[in-house]
C-alpha cells in the first residue's frame, strides 16, 4: 500500500480538503476509528485492529513527531494508508447497501450465504479484486 486513499471531508471545498489532508491530526483523525477497531463491514485480509489498545500510546507518540503527515515515520504512514484503504472500500460498500435500502445492521443479520452474494455483486459491479477480502 503506497499512498492510501483520500477520505473526503463533507462541507469543505476540494482545495481546502487537500490542504488539510497534509496535516497529521486531520488526516489521521479521519480514520482513527478504523485504526483502533475492526469497524468495517468488509472482512479484509489485514490483521485488525491495525493498532491494539496496548500499542495505542506508542503509536500516538509517533504521530506527534510532526505536524506534517508526510514527515511521519514510514511505518506510521503505512498504518494510516491501510486504514484509509479499509475505510474507502467500507464507505463504498455502505453506500451500495444504502442505495438498495439495506442498513448495515440488516446486512449483518443476514445469513452468510446471502451476505456473500451481496458482497460479490458489489465487487463485480465495481471491478474490485476479490483477493483483498476473506471470501470462501
Amino acid at each position: 500500500m503506497e499512498k492510501g486513499y483520500f477520505i473526503p471531508e463533507k462541507g469543505l471545498s476540494e482545495e481546502n480538503q487537500i490542504q488539510r489532508n497534509l496535516i497529521t491530526s486531520i488526516r489521521i483523525s479521519k480514520v482513527i476509528d478504523y485504526i483502533l477497531e475492526n469497524k468495517s463491514l468488509l472482512d479484509f485480509k489485514i490483521k485488525q485492529p491495525l493498532v491494539s489498545n496496548l500499542d495505542y500510546k506508542g503509536f500516538e507518540i509517533q504521530t506527534q513527531k510532526s505536524h506534517n503527515f508526510e514527515d511521519l515515520p514510514r511505518w506510521v504512514k503505512q498504518i494510516v494508508y491501510k486504514a484509509e484503504h479499509i475505510k474507502h472500500f467500507d464507505l463504498m460498500f455502505r453506500q451500495y447497501l444504502l442505495d438498495r435500502d439495506i442498513y448495515p445492521r440488516e446486512y449483518k443479520s443476514k445469513n452468510p450465504k446471502l451476505q456473500q452474494d451481496i458482497l460479490l455483486d458489489w465487487m463485480f459491479l465495481n471491478k474490485i479484486d476479490t483477493s483483498i477480502l476473506n471470501i470462501e
Binding site: K10, L12, E60, I61, P73
Partner: protein
C-alpha cells in the same frame, strides 16, 4: 423464623445503624416498605427513599394541623361509572383486535356500546386501569371506564367512542405540541407505545384527543409481558421515548419539561395514594424522586462528582459514546458538559483587557485556527464558539474529544515568528483573522494527557496494571524509536541505490498511469511514430537507448540490464488483441515493452534496494545492533503484554455501563469523555504537535475568555 419477627429485627438493626451514622444495609432495607415506621425514645422514624436513590430512616415530621384535609382523590371517584352495566348484561358485537383481543360489547338493557378488555392476565388489565386512573388524576383524556376485579381474571369496560380518527393520521405541529403537553406523564407511566399506531384518537365530535390504549404502560408491555428492569426507578423514558419518537420530541424544551415535572410533583402524593400494589407504589415513589432531580433549584457545583445515573442519562441521550450530530458534535461529551454547565459561552474581552489578564502568572494563551465548511465561514464558527447556546465539541479527533487549540508558549502573537501560532495559522488556512485568541485563567482545572491516561488505567484496571502499562509504554517507545532508526537507514539506502541506478519517479508515474498499449492499440488509426516517440522519451529519461537497426526494427536497451527489446512496427501490426467484449482492445507488443521496462528497470532497482538492505542488515554493525535491540524489546513487549492481559482479567475495578464503553478504548478520543466525567476544564498534551507545540483540548467553554474580534 416468623416473618413478623424477621421484619421487626430488620427494622431494629437498620434503624440502629442509621442512628449511629452508618448507611443501613440496602439488601435489608429492601425487605421494608416505604412509609413503615418505628418509634424509638418517643421519636417516630419512617422509611423513605433518599435523593441518592437509597432507602433510609428519617424522622417523621408531624404534619401541620391546618384544619383542612388534603384533597386527595380516591380512585373510585376518578371515573363516572354509576351507569355501567353488570358483565352478565353484555353481548359481544365484534372483535376490535389489538395486542390482547379487545372486544366491542353492548349492554343488552340500554343498547350502549363499550370496549371490553381482559388483557393478557388479570395483573395486566388491572395495571392498564391504574395507568388510566393516573392519567385521570391529571385530567388527561382517557375513556371513562370501570374495573371489574375478579379472583382469576379482571375486566375493564370503557365507553366506546364511535366517531374518531387516529391522531397520527392528522398529526401536525399544533396537535403534536398539544399531545406533548403530557409528555413527562407519559414517560412517568412508561407508556412506550402511546405515540404509535392509533393509541391516541381524536374524537371528531368534541375535538378531544384521547389516549385510548394504555395497555403498554407501567410494568407491562402492550402484549402483557412484564417489563422487569425496563420499568426502573429512573424515568429513562424521558430520553428513550424522545429517541424513538423524534417528531414528538421536537417541540419539547427543557423549560417545558421542567414545568410538566413540577405539575406532576404537586400531585405526587395523590399518585402514590391511589396505587394499591406495594411494589408499584415503591417504584412510582422512586420515579417521582427521580423527576425531582430535574427541577431542583439548588445551584450545582460544576466540579461535583457525577452520579452513575447522570452518566447513564448522558449515554442514553447520545445512544453511544461515539455518536455525533451537527449541533453538539460528540453528543455524549456535550451532555456531560451540559450537566456541569461547561457549555456556557465564554467571556469576551477587549484586546487591552485580554492582554492585561494574560500577564497573570499561570495564565495561558491559546490560538484556535478555524476553516469554513457546510456553508459557514470561519467567522461564523468563531461567532458560534463565543455566542451559540449549543457548544459544538467536534466530531473528529485522535487525542481526545473536545475543542482543540494550540498553546502559545510565548503568550504573544507574531511578530516575531512563533511556531505555536504557525500551527493555528495552518488550521486557519493561513488566514490571520480566522484565529481565535483564547485566555486560560490560572484557576482552570487542567490535566496532562499522560497523567489522564494513567488515571484511566488505574481506575479501570488497578494500580498494578497502571505500573505494568507504564513499563510497556516505555519499552514500546524504545522499540518504535529503533524502528524509526532502522527505517531512516533503509530510506537512505533506498535513495542512494535508486539515484545510482537511475530511478526516475516522474517516468515511473507515467508508466503506471498511461496506457499506451490501449491508446495506440489500433495501428491503422495511430502510426507507429506515436508510440515510438512516447517510449523513446520514457526510455531516455531512464538513461536507456532506442536505436534504429533497420527500417522495421528498433533496439531498446536499459542501463542496468544486458537484455534487449526489439520494437517493430510489423510486429505491432499483428498484435491487436481484445480479451472479451467488455474490455478495451490493446496492443500486445506495446504492452510487452511496458512490462520489459517495469521488469528490467524499476523492479530490478527495487530488487537491488532489497539486496542492499539485506546485506546491510547482515554486515553493518549498526544495523545488526538495531535489529538485536529490536528483538530484545519485542520479547519484553510480548512478556509484558501477556502479564497485562492476566491483570486485566483479574482486575479489581468495578465499572458501570458508561465506563465499560470508555474502557474499550482508553486513550484517544475517549480521553476527552473521561476528563469531562472527572470534571476537568481542559486537557493539555505537552508533547503536542511536532516537537514543541503543546495543544489544549477545551471541555469547559464557559471558563475561558476570548479576545474580541471583528
Amino acid at each position: 423464623m416468623n416473618n413478623e419477627i424477621k421484619i421487626a429485627l430488620i427494622k431494629a438493626k437498620t434503624l440502629r445503624d442509621s442512628l449511629s451514622g452508618k448507611e443501613p444495609d440496602q439488601e435489608l432495607m429492601k425487605a421494608l416498605q416505604i412509609g413503615q415506621t418505628k418509634v424509638v425514645n418517643g421519636v417516630t422514624y419512617v422509611v423513605k427513599m433518599t435523593p441518592n436513590g437509597t432507602l433510609d430512616w428519617r424522622v417523621l415530621k408531624p404534619t401541620k394541623k391546618s384544619g383542612k384535609k388534603k384533597n386527595l382523590k380516591k380512585i373510585e371517584d376518578l371515573f363516572d361509572t354509576a351507569d355501567f352495566p353488570d358483565l352478565s348484561d353484555l353481548k359481544e358485537v365484534s372483535s376490535l383486535g389489538g395486542s390482547t383481543g379487545a372486544k366491542l360489547v353492548e349492554d343488552t338493557k340500554t343498547g350502549k356500546k363499550y370496549v371490553m378488555k381482559q388483557g393478557n392476565s388479570k395483573e395486566h388489565v388491572e395495571e392498564e386501569f391504574m395507568a388510566n386512573a393516573i392519567y385521570k388524576l391529571f385530567d388527561v383524556k382517557v375513556p371513562n371506564m370501570k374495573l371489574y376485579k375478579g379472583d382469576v381474571e379482571s375486566t375493564v369496560l370503557s365507553d366506546y367512542i364511535p366517531n374518531t380518527v387516529p391522531a397520527n393520521e392528522i398529526m401536525d405541529e399544533q396537535l403534536r405540541d398539544d399531545i406533548a403537553d403530557n409528555y413527562i406523564l407519559d414517560c412517568l407511566l412508561s407508556n412506550w407505545d402511546v405515540y404509535k399506531n392509533d393509541n391516541i384518537l381524536i374524537d371528531t365530535d368534541t375535538g378531544d384527543f384521547i389516549r385510548v390504549d394504555n395497555g403498554g404502560a407501567l410494568r407491562y408491555s402492550a402484549q402483557g409481558r412484564p417489563k422487569g428492569e425496563d420499568f426502573s426507578e429512573e424515568v429513562e423514558e424521558i430520553d428513550t421515548m424522545a429517541l424513538h419518537n423524534p417528531f414528538m420530541a421536537e417541540g419539547l424544551t427543557d423549560a417545558k419539561m421542567k414545568k410538566q415535572i413540577k405539575q406532576i410533583l404537586l400531585k405526587g402524593e395523590n399518585i402514590i395514594s391511589i396505587i394499591e400494589d406495594d411494589d408499584l407504589k415503591k417504584k412510582m415513589y422512586a420515579r417521582l424522586m427521580d423527576l425531582k432531580e430535574f427541577v431542583t433549584d439548588e445551584p450545582k457545583d460544576p466540579y461535583r462528582q457525577l452520579k452513575e445515573r447522570d452518566l447513564k442519562r448522558a449515554l442514553r441521550r447520545a445512544g453511544h459514546v461515539m455518536n455525533t450530530n451537527n449541533k453538539q458534535g460528540w453528543i455524549f461529551l456535550s451532555e456531560i458538559c451540559k450537566m456541569r454547565g461547561f457549555d456556557g459561552t465564554p467571556e469576551m474581552l477587549p484586546s487591552k483587557e485580554f492582554d492585561k489578564q494574560l500577564k497573570q502568572e499561570g495564565a495561558l494563551l491559546l490560538n484556535r485556527g478555524l476553516t469554513g465548511s457546510y456553508g459557514k465561514t470561519a467567522k461564523d464558527y468563531m461567532k458560534e464558539f463565543t455566542e451559540s447556546e449549543d457548544c459544538f465539541y467536534g466530531t473528529q479527533a485522535m487525542y481526545g474529544a473536545g475543542i482543540y487549540a494550540a498553546v502559545n508558549a510565548a503568550k504573544k502573537n507574531p511578530p516575531p515568528p512563533n511556531d505555536d501560532y504557525a500551527i493555528a495559522l495552518d488550521y486557519a488556512g493561513f488566514e490571520k483573522n480566522h484565529i481565535l485568541d483564547i485566555l486560560v485563567t490560572p484557576d482552570t482545572r487542567i490535566v496532562d494527557a499522560d497523567e489522564l491516561d494513567r488515571m484511566m488505567n488505574e481506575e479501570f484496571f488497578g494500580e498494578e496494571f497502571k505500573e505494568k502499562k507504564d513499563e510497556y509504554d516505555k519499552i514500546n517507545d524504545v522499540y518504535n524509536e529503533l524502528k524509526n532508526q532502522k527505517e531512516r537507514i533503509e530510506d537512505e539506502i533506498d535513495f542512494n541505490v535508486k539515484k545510482d541506478l537511475g530511478w526516475n519517479e516522474k517516468s515511473f508515474n507515467v508508466l503506471n498511469r498511461a496506457k499506451p498499449e490501449e491508446v495506440y492499440a489500433d495501428t491503422e488509426k495511430f502510426s507507429f511514430q506515436k508510440p515510438l516517440r512516447f517510449y523513446t522519451k520514457l526510455i531516455e529519461s531512464l538513461n536507456g537507448t532506442v536505436q534504429k537497426i533497420d527500417k522495421t526494427t528498433y533496439e531498446i536497451k536499459l542501463p542496468n540490464t544486458a537484455k534487449t527489446f526489439w520494437l517493430s512496427p510489423e510486429i505491432a501490426e499483428r498484435s491487436l488483441k481484445q480479451k472479451n467484449a467488455n474490455t478495451n482492445p490493446y496492443n500486445y507488443h506495446y504492452k510487452r515493452l511496458k512490462e520489459f521496462i517495469k521488469e528490467n528497470h524499476y523492479n530490478l532497482i527495487r530488487g537491488k534496494v532489497a539486496d542492499e538492505i539485506e546485506k546491510r542488515r547482515r554486515d553493518d554493525p549498526k544495523m545488526v545492533g538495531i535489529n538485536d535491540k529490536m528483538k530484545e524489546a519485542q520479547s519484553k513487549i510480548k512478556d509484558l503484554a501477556d502479564e497485562i492481559e492476566k491483570i486485566k482479567t483479574t482486575g479489581s475495578s468495578t465499572v458501570n455501563e458508561v465506563m465499560a464503553e470508555i474502557i474499550k478504548r482508553p486513550g484517544g478520543t475517549h480521553r476527552g469523555f473521561y476528563a469531562a466525567i472527572k470534571g476537568y476544564d481542559m486537557i493539555v498534551n505537552k508533547r503536542g504537535w511536532g516537537t514543541n507545540t503543546d495543544f489544549a483540548v477545551i471541555l469547559n467553554r464557559s471558563k475561558v475568555k476570548v479576545r474580541e474580534f471583528k
